[in-house]
């Protein structure tokens, strides 16, 4: 199981990245996240909503409601320019971090 603290730092990036592919609703995002990570990311589903609402309040994503075929209201989220900028920065940050970690981990292996 993935360490929670590692997950907590990356959820904003993962959520924004999902929304960059297209507008989605909460349940759809959970399923996408599971499928793309090959079941590696399995969130407690309720925790996604405080993240989404927080991103919306910070002006990084927008939401709108549409009716489903059953006539049920469904809330979709869409990334905006501010969110895209943050995602770009987060991705760069992540690449630097992961490349540094790989170098260190790789160094340890070579030493063995």
């Amino acid at each position: 199981m993935l360490d929670k603290s590692l997950m907590a730092g990356s959820t904003t990036m993962l959520v924004l990245n999902l929304l960059e592919q297209g507008d989605m609703y909460g349940y759809q995002m959970i399923r996408e996240l599971e499928q793309r990570s090959e079941q590696f990311f399995s969130l407690k589903e309720g925790t996604l909503y405080p993240i989404l609402h927080g991103l919306e309040k910070d002006g990084l994503i927008k939401s709108y409601e549409m009716k489903t075929e059953q006539g049920r209201p469904r809330k979709y989220y869409a990334i905006n320019d501010k969110g895209r900028r943050l995602l770009r920065d987060k991705k760069q940050e992540w690449q630097l971090f992961s490349s540094a970690v790989n170098k260190v981990m790789g160094g340890v292996r070579y030493a063995e």
């Binding site: 507008d23 589903e45 309040k57 549409m66 809330k75």
Partner: protein, 465 residues
């Protein structure tokens, strides 16, 4: 079929932890949709409805933790960027009174000071009450607001006592109340409702708006209150210009703008031509800058400002005395600040006002609901126009239509009106995004449209599954 009680219990347990009640409905709808979708998926995998629902609820995690996180996210943020400038300007108003007494020991401003602080506290309470109010209730009653305003003006004209040629209402142990700026606020609030009511009628709607606004402006002018008329006119123009640019009266925005401003110009010219020479001279003196028609306040202001120092009292006060300054704590508050505290203090005030107005504008631009946006714009227009007029009058560029500087000037009625306006603005920010979220079918439709106060973006030509 599952009996849904597990799902309901989970949702209730989450939303009860969200203290900001306007956020609850949207959260309930969203969790309901999620749980229904997941339950359906588990049923398709072969679970019984009861098992499917139980498993879907378990997947959501701890409702207490989710509720606590949502409570934190939805807690209204205190708008310090707006409240702090207001507090600073209000303290400055008190400082103006205190400073006046220091410079001129014959003045006794203590009673004014006590009253000023009491009114500020009452204004704060009023702002808080309006902050908590669902301001959208006002939008369905534009005619009530409009006639209430006309009624107050008429009642004051019939029952009020004349002070300096203007009728005021005498209130025992409080003082006199001049209702023109209260009526200005009511007219503007009514105007917002009329925009929503007539926007779908295009040109006809715009003509109706023109007639309604013209009559209200005439009523304020006849009262007579040139300042309230001017402030109201500027706010109307801001609102209507924005509505036309946003194509709310139809796609033909440039012809409509031309028609609106052309009519305004024509009516103004006709009014100017219809008045006699003396009144024309008086009117020109409102904007006058020539020495021949310079008014007494303008003469004093020019002397005070010419001898103003960076810090401290103007040299003119030392030679002529403080009493030479007209309307020191109210209409000419800006002059008083420069004359008694120095022009650096004047620049600081202008900076605080600039920060406040720009902050309001930035926040207004991000408001999602249509009525909330216009309400914020109306408050911005009213306060912005008053700041502008009071600064122009304070440096002698405008001799008529003068008005108190919001939050700084001494004056009970004005203070309450300005605080009420701020309360309305904060109320819009508090509830924005939570009120009246509209829903549309997922099939077809325009990409972007404004529906019942909500910006609807339909990027979905494909199905989201």
């Amino acid at each position: 079929m599952p009996n849904n009680w597990l799902r309901e219990a989970f949702i209730q347990s989450v939303v009860q932890r969200i203290r900001f009640k306007p956020a609850r409905n949207a959260v309930m709808r969203e969790l309901e949709d999620h749980l229904q979708e997941h339950t359906k998926a588990f049923i398709e995998e072969g679970l019984s409805p009861g098992e499917a629902e139980e498993k879907a609820v378990t997947c959501m995690g701890d409702p207490a933790a989710v509720g606590a996180d949502l409570d934190r996210v939805h807690r209204p943020r205190i708008q310090w960027s707006l409240i702090l400038p207001v507090l600073m300007l209000s303290f400055l108003g008190v400082a103006v009174l205190l400073n006046a007494e220091l410079i001129n020991p014959h003045l006794n401003t203590s009673p004014d000071l006590v009253k000023s602080i009491a009114v500020f506290l009452a204004g704060g309470l009023l702002a808080f009450c309006l902050y908590r109010l669902d301001y959208t209730k006002l939008k369905n009653h534009p005619w009530v607001l409009y006639f209430a305003s006309l009624g107050i003006l008429l009642a004051t004209l019939l029952l009020g006592s004349p002070v300096n040629g203007v009728k005021v209402i005498q209130l025992p142990s409080i003082g006199s109340l001049k209702p023109d700026h209260l009526c200005s606020l009511l007219f503007v609030l009514a105007f917002l409702g009329f925009i929503l009511k007539y926007q779908s009628q295009g040109l006809i709607g715009l003509v109706k708006m023109g007639l309604i606004s013209a009559f209200s402006l005439l009523a304020l002018l006849m009262f007579p209150s040139f300042s309230a008329m001017l402030i109201t006119l500027l706010t109307y123009l801001l609102l209507l210009t924005t509505a036309i640019i946003k194509k709310q009266f139809g796609a033909q925005r440039w012809p409509l703008l031309l028609l609106m401003y052309g009519t305004l110009l024509l009516v103004s010219l006709l009014l100017l031509l219809s008045i006699d020479g003396y009144r024309l001279e008086r009117l020109s003196s409102l904007l006058g800058s020539t020495d021949a028609i310079k008014s007494y306040p303008q003469y004093v202001i020019s002397n005070l400002l010419q001898e103003a120092r960076p810090i401290g009292a103007s040299g003119y006060i030392a030679s002529e005395g403080f009493s030479a300054l007209p309307g020191s704590g109210s209409e000419y508050a800006f002059t008083t600040i420069i004359a008694t505290m120095g022009w650096l203090a004047g620049m600081a005030v202008a900076l605080i006002i600039g920060f406040f107005i720009v902050g309001m504008g930035m926040k207004a631009l991000h408001i999602r609901t249509q009525y909330g946006f216009y309400m914020a714009l109306a408050v911005l227009g009213l306060l912005g126009a008053k700041f502008l007029v009071s600064i122009l009058a304070g440096v002698g560029l405008l001799a008529g239509g003068i008005t108190g500087m919001p939050f700084v000037s001494y004056g009970a009625a004005d203070c309450l009106i300005h605080m009420a306006s701020l309360g309305l603005f904060l109320s819009v920010l508090r509830t924005d995004g939570y009120l009246q979220e509209s829903i549309q079918s997922s099939s077809g439709g325009r990409i972007i449209k404004l529906e019942d106060g909500q910006l609807i973006i339909s990027l979905h030509t494909r199905r989201n599954k």
